[in-house]
């Protein structure tokens, strides 16, 4: 596939020279100290460099200008469908004062781009966007200084515009000519003039997404669309349950099927390779039927899943303790909330290509982290990492750690068995649904006390959850590891520490309570295979906190919006809450009638990222329990907005996706198998149930740091729905999903 012209290769030596010294000084601090992107905290002396420049400070790792004046920007983050590619181009174009369409952007590739860990946790703008923005600003400054020397004029008399530096007398030099004598292989400086944020011309504009036209016209846009010369198609017969042993398989008949090139068996890992894709599918079906397995897996009882989770051994992690004098408690409420396992549910099942040669293996992958994947694949393949190149090519939206990494391991393992031939592996729907690592099930218990004036004086909160991060940073973490004859050790699960957190993400309320105590009961044992899913624990913790805030408001006889404001000191949070309430017309609406309700909720994602408040109304059909969301209004503060329509698109998506999670979704299983194997077993929201309208208001915050937005709306949406349901039905639902059956049972018609 000719997805993009390849820029001149940045030499590995350059990149190593760029980051090497720093990496040596603070690497290997262990998984437990890394955040969700895999980044380790910078030591204080490096903290002055913003975003990912702290780890990769050399300018030409981010921005290169060639002799023709062409600008290439580099990011270690990946386009996942979130619009990152467009936003990063805008940032580089703004600082270099060139047209966005003139910038070539190279994304995550272990041979070309900086190591920015995983594209996760809504970090792309704050890490990579910030690095590109600052690097581009410094490159422009260097180009202007070079021009100043040539013009023999002070630099402050010059302007950069459209790829040229102009002198007041009309002379100008192109970036290409200026770059000839200029080394960008220099370290970034901590402070640079980035211009007045109010004067920005490219960021803050809703530049249309650069990737959309190809996706609408049949262009090659995804790893699924790659076709390499001599490519073969492979399918894997997966272990039907964890730990299943392949007792026997008669592959002879399958090897004689039309187009079949090879059946590969390695321990309990069973594969068929064929010339054509449909031949591979048919052979896979036959091979699946021929395989005889011994199974002994024991999954928990789904009906009592949450009690099982709470009964497992837990490591208690203190999240926060606040103590202060407060009014005497006159009323105490308590409640328990649960969340099932959720599926990422990409519309396109995972896919990867790989090719082995004497130089090693190249893998085309929709992973969220090419560098961690390279390291883990190298371990799995018993190769040195420099023999593995991972190139990100976009896949279907992933929403976290889905099958992307495991299918890349499939492609690499099979390519090793078929050296020289490119191998394409495409998971089938039922494989995606049963083998992807799910978003963890969770339990929360909360109690709080009100004083006589209806203020919250005490808050006690516990959350039970597995880790939310089993991304393959080690070879033993791939799905295939358990099927191979000599499995690698599997590292124990670790919690992601606060301030970002994993299961405890957003368990720390942003509200000001005089007394509070929050504990994360970290459960190491994982009854089902799980990992990171969009917003991690924040979805359930915000669902809990914001549902319970409404319960407390009701107990205090207060309206939910003023009740929240009364407990909120953060000025930006207050602005967002007020903006959503005003635009919704919260105070003007009449009180609910039977079957109709409105709900409000707020959170600042991770208490570090974007602020998001949501107001919505809905109707409930009492006879069936069917919920129809009506009008949704959201207000969001993402710092200085780079692409306001991109932010709106992300928040709209978060609202609709979360509505689907909240109203319909749960992974189903019996005592041995995952049973929600297709879209009939795992229904998600379809068009008739989409909200009647969604209006997202983006606050303008010139000069404020970029804040991650992609996961800000999910938690508030869930709670706003539950709060509206309470008003519409008189019943408080605390167990997700708030399904038609549960609504109907609660309403009791």
């Amino acid at each position: 596939m000719n997805a993009r012209p390849q820029p001149p290769e940045l030499s590995r030596r350059q990149l190593l020279a760029a980051g090497g010294a720093l990496i040596v000084s603070f690497s290997l601090t262990g998984r437990s100290e890394a955040d969700e992107t895999g980044a380790t905290p910078s030591p204080a002396k490096e903290a002055a460099l913003p975003g990912s420049l702290a780890k990769t400070p050399v300018l030409d790792a981010w921005i290169r200008v060639d002799g023709d004046g062409r600008v290439t920007a580099f990011t270690g983050k990946a386009e996942l469908g979130q619009g990152m590619r467009t936003a990063v181009i805008q940032l580089a174009a703004e600082q270099l004062a060139v047209a966005p369409e003139s910038i070539e952007l190279v994304t995550a590739d272990t041979a070309l781009t900086p190591d920015e860990g995983f594209t996760a946790g809504s970090h792309s703008m704050q890490d990579s966007g910030t690095a590109v923005f600052n690097a581009a600003g410094q490159v422009r400054w260097l180009l202007m200084q070079a021009a100043a020397t040539r013009f023999a004029l002070p630099v402050d008399q010059l302007t950069a515009r459209d790829g040229f530096v102009h002198a007041p007398d009309g002379r100008s030099f192109g970036y290409g000519a200026l770059s000839a004598g200029l080394s960008l292989h220099v370290s970034a400086e901590p402070a640079t003039g980035l211009g007045d944020p109010k004067s920005y011309r490219i960021i803050g504009k809703s530049l249309p997404r650069v990737d959309i036209p190809a996706k609408l016209t049949g262009g090659a846009a995804y790893v699924q669309d790659m076709r390499l010369p001599g490519m073969l198609h492979a399918r894997v017969v997966r272990q039907p349950s964890p730990g299943a042993r392949l007792r026997s398989v008669d592959a002879g008949a399958i090897e004689r099927l039309p187009g079949v090139v090879k059946v590969v068996r390695d321990g309990d890992y069973l594969v068929v390779v064929a010339e054509r894709e449909w031949q591979a599918v048919k052979a896979w079906r036959a091979l699946s039927a021929a395989a005889e397995w011994s199974e002994n897996a024991e999954l928990p009882e789904q009906a009592s899943l949450h009690a099982t989770l709470q009964a497992l051994p837990a490591r208690d992690i203190e999240v926060l303790t606040w103590t202060a004098t407060a009014g005497a408690a006159v009323k105490r409420l308590q409640a328990r909330f649960t969340k099932p396992y959720l599926m990422h549910g990409s519309i396109g099942p995972s896919c990867a290509l790989a090719q082995f040669s004497d130089d090693g293996v190249t893998v085309w992958t929709h992973t969220q982290g090419v560098y961690p994947q390279r390291g883990a694949l190298a371990e799995l393949l018993r190769l040195p990492p420099e023999k593995v190149r991972c190139i990100h090519v976009q896949g279907s939206g992933c929403y976290g750690h889905n099958g992307a990494d495991d299918v890349a391991a499939d492609a690499a393992l099979i390519a090793r068995a078929m050296p020289g031939r490119p191998i394409r592996v495409q998971w089938m729907r039922e494989q995606e649904n049963t083998a992807e690592p799910f978003g963890p099930a969770m339990v929360t218990e909360v109690s709080a006390a009100l004083d006589v004036e209806g203020n919250i004086v005490d808050w006690e909160y516990g959350v039970w959850s597995n880790t939310h991060n089993m991304r393959p940073t080690k070879g033993g973490m791939f799905l295939q590891n358990a099927a191979l004859p000599e499995p690698l050790p599997v590292p124990p699960p670790e919690p992601i520490p606060m301030p970002e957190g994993g299961g405890d993400r957003n368990s720390n309320p942003l509200y000001a309570f005089p007394n509070a105590h929050v504990v994360y009961h970290f459960v190491p044992t994982m009854p089902l295979r799980i990992s990171a899913m969009r917003s991690l624990g924040a979805y359930h913790n915000i669902f809990t906190i914001e549902s319970f805030m409404d319960e407390l408001a009701e107990a205090a006889g207060a309206d939910p919006v003023p009740f929240r404001l009364r407990h909120m000191k953060d000025a930006r949070a207050r602005d967002v809450i007020e903006a959503a309430a005003d635009r919704f017309g919260w105070s003007k609406l009449p009180l609910a009638e039977r079957g109709r309700g409105r709900g409000f909720a707020f959170a600042r994602y991770k208490n570090l990222g974007a602020y998001c408040a949501i107001a919505l109304d809905l109707t409930v059909e009492h006879e069936t329990g069917r919920v129809q969301i009506g009008r949704v209004v959201a207000a969001v503060d993402s710092g200085q907005p780079i692409n306001p329509d991109g932010i709106r698109n992300q928040i709209e998506g978060a609202i609709v996706q979360s509505a689907s999670w909240t109203l319909y979704e749960q992974v189903s299983f019996d005592r041995r198998h995952i049973t929600s194997a297709d879209w009939s077993g795992y229904p998600i929201l379809r068009f008739p149930a989409a909200p009647l309208s969604v209006d997202v208001h983006v606050l303008d915050r010139p000069g404020q740091p970029f804040l991650g937005t992609g996961e800000a709306g999910q938690g508030p949406t869930a709670a706003a729905i539950a709060n509206a349901l309470r008003q519409a039905t008189g019943v408080r639902l605390r167990n997700l999903p708030l399904s038609r059956e549960r609504v109907k049972a609660a309403v009791g018609v």
Partner: protein
């Protein structure tokens, strides 16, 4: 050898007769628009038009298709000159990851060809077979309404 009529052109295809149309489009004809999503007719990522109706190309064997008119998103327009529905999706920025979008466009195209003035309820009902996981539904609905408006203007 089976002869298929796709976007007005005849293609002789050397594939097994039970091969679903989707695999022939993607592998034999190297067309990217129709996507593999489930292979079960549940998600609509593979939607194309057959004799003017939206169908799941992942479950229709090519042996049933000689003599019938197949239309794919490649037949609607190009990135340089997009068709009306494609342009409406661009104007509304109606995609996130975009994997479902070609299927959405084809189902909308089929709808608007037989019902140029659909109500909101008809649009939602008609689009029901197609799944989007990014939650782009509001923009997709806007794009379909916009395409209907444009078609009306063009027709006048």
């Amino acid at each position: 050898m089976i002869t298929l009529t796709i976007n007005g052109q005849q293609h002789d295809v050397d594939a097994e007769p039970d091969t679903p149309l989707l695999y022939v489009l993607r592998e034999d004809l190297q067309m990217n628009g129709a996507k593999f999503g489930c292979g079960l007719g549940q998600c609509g990522a593979c939607t194309v038009m057959l004799d003017g109706k939206a169908v799941f190309s992942c479950v229709i064997p090519i042996s049933l298709l000689p003599g019938r008119e197949i239309k794919t998103i490649e037949g609607l327009g190009t990135a340089a000159v997009p068709g009306v529905v494609q342009q409406a999706f661009i104007d509304e920025q109606a995609a996130q990851c975009g994997y479902c979008i070609a299927g959405m466009v084809m189902r909308a195209q089929a709808l608007l060809e037989h019902n140029p003035s659909p109500t909101e309820e008809q649009i939602r009902d008609e689009m029901t077979p197609n799944l989007c996981r990014c939650g782009t539904h509001m923009r997709i609905l806007r794009a379909v309404r916009r395409a209907a408006q444009t078609m009306k203007r063009v027709a006048l």
